[in-house]
Symmetry: C2
Subunit: 437 residues, 2 copies
Amino acid sequence: MVTSVKSLGVALLGCGTVGGEVARILTQDAEELTSRCGARLELIGVGVRDTAADRGPHVDRSLITDDLAGLVERADVVIELMGGLEPAGSLIESALRAGKTVISANKALIAERLAELSTAAAESRVQFSYEAAVAGAIPILRPIRDSLAGDRITSVMGIVNGTTNYILDAMDSTGASFEDALAKAQELGYAEADPTADVEGHDAAAKAAILASLSLHTAFPLSEVYTEGITRVTAEDIASARAAGYVIKFLAIVERVEKDGEDFAAVRVHPTLLPDTHPLASVRGAYNAVYVEAENAGSLMFMGQGAGGAPTASAVMGDVISSVRRVVAGGPGRTETPTCVVTSLPHSLAETRYSIAVTVEDRPGVLEQIARVFSTHSQSIESMSQSLVTDGEGSGAAVLRIITHTGAEGDLRATVEDIHSLPAVIRKPTFMRVGGN
Amino acid sequence: MVTSVKSLGVALLGCGTVGGEVARILTQDAEELTSRCGARLELIGVGVRDTAADRGPHVDRSLITDDLAGLVERADVVIELMGGLEPAGSLIESALRAGKTVISANKALIAERLAELSTAAAESRVQFSYEAAVAGAIPILRPIRDSLAGDRITSVMGIVNGTTNYILDAMDSTGASFEDALAKAQELGYAEADPTADVEGHDAAAKAAILASLSLHTAFPLSEVYTEGITRVTAEDIASARAAGYVIKFLAIVERVEKDGEDFAAVRVHPTLLPDTHPLASVRGAYNAVYVEAENAGSLMFMGQGAGGAPTASAVMGDVISSVRRVVAGGPGRTETPTCVVTSLPHSLAETRYSIAVTVEDRPGVLEQIARVFSTHSQSIESMSQSLVTDGEGSGAAVLRIITHTGAEGDLRATVEDIHSLPAVIRKPTFMRVGGN
């Protein structure tokens, strides 16, 4: 008896760093992949905008095309690595509607249109997978969606952007300013020439929206993610955090918050002080890590490479093999669609601890005035330390660094405003959120 | 239009700590689970040996039965938490052959019969899942099987037994002996009255066999796992490891080893010196963690609670919901069967670094004799330190602690034998393996 192995046509849309690696793996490991998924994966085309560019040794020139729609039409499996909302979105949607298996690593698109594309996949009974969209090689979406499907996730905290983790880590270990650390990151290729998406938090916000949607079984809108980048973090912030036993990490945070018997989602992206004993505190350089808390599982942590060609391609290929196994086995693909409506908690009601820096005239009575403002707003102070100003701002000034107990962001902001209006306060207080306990 | 939700009968076999938690979740979270998986899960029976025992508030007494085979026959979904090879094995096999979805947390059984039970599941086109069998709440088997399905795993190192990690950690932090740390662990409920399965490594060996089978897409026999427990680890071993910058962890190790163009598997369980900077080195107490290296993904780490009722129940319920979603969607369940034959590497050929302790007479020339034995066996020394013996073994004696570069276990053992036969060597040298770099 001759066993014939089914052959499936694979379309690769986009051929940058990750696409090149996917093409390499499809070629180099073809035999092994065939035995693992039970079908031969035949790369039938590589869709790019610029057909003249060199795509490296693993992409046969004859496969290159700029007719993306035509390529999708001929394929059984579509791997979308172009990025951006369009034409990626239309191509994926038409592929799903035509019953093709789709794999994407496009966080911006998925953050915007996850529910809609999942519904399209479910209607066509095909699989739509996107593990590589969050935290590169780290298996995080599948564990959240499947392994924790019978549990209730209460919070997710992730270092999901390697560029900003590299910058903060460099500032921490060398004492460099944000600008110098960014320049170094650009020099080493860890940051792009235009670093806005990373340092302003847009990249992390997209990942936070995806994590929120899957963790809370809902469709969490990207526009509801409170986003604050790392551009205002100073070397001084990092040094004083360290002195107090904290490190500053740029986190994507998803919290399930119960108010009056109803579940809300508090989803935000901002620099966060973490106790230096927290598992996320020791995640260095360009690594990513995600810390998940669930009612029954307790705390889980996942760590690995969050970017780069081969690591991201590993996650893409995991999705490819998993969904092709399903195609081979027969029966519909499986894609989750939202089962809950979870409303976003207004950011002013989100509760956390805070670290506040107040520059004041160094004279008696000031501390008491400041403490009174905190108590007026029912904000409870956990610790306070004072240091004299040495940066030429004038003698007779001191910086108070206050860490609070948990309170609502709205109350904290009101407290900061009122402190700012005290005559002894020299400039507007700055604050940062404290997490991890 | 009335939407009718399908109802599936769930049989729970075994109702200890984990079973009780599974029953609680099925009851308390019924509504949420129904919306997530699209079917109502109805607990139709709890099979136990002792029907008179109290099973807590979440198990309706009328559901208790000792007719396990009859219960399996009536069920759509079978959750096996009895442990042991029989009758669990026969019950699972008959359930799979009858087309029922099966979830198990039974590491001993799965280590023995994974390939066979997976084949039975594949033949009946039903799903057989066992995430909870390794590392409790940590999603590790699904990431290995699915997320890394398009990559090539080169090694897995896991702290997969909480009892032994607790004991070694206690020895490390308090300086206690193995016996005292074990007694403390028993007092706190971290170790059983008969701790053999944990401290002799049988539990970890079963998990190593499962990790090897899934990582290497093969059927790795439990009998081929080299197993050495922690009973001979001394407080002195731990102190001198720490002085050299290492911690001793009890690891399950899977390595893909290429010899003459063919892949072999080196699978072993033993106390291991890890550099104190290794991610696994800081895993404390009863926590579990698994460190995976793959060709494209690079290094990944997974950490969480490896035992306990609720955490293990979380993993079981993740399998339940995932497989029920498949039942609801229709089409065959998916269970991997081995696709490769990977031969076990004879343990004498397994290569690692070693830490060797030699008690010698403290006189000139001894060091040279010992160094000569190492070079005779082509074993390369990385570092050596000497300390005088203070334990009443007599003055004039010293302990040499030698760390080697990578070499084969057979050569190391021959080296140790030859050193033992030197007249200046007072007792048989002991050695421990060094990992993590």
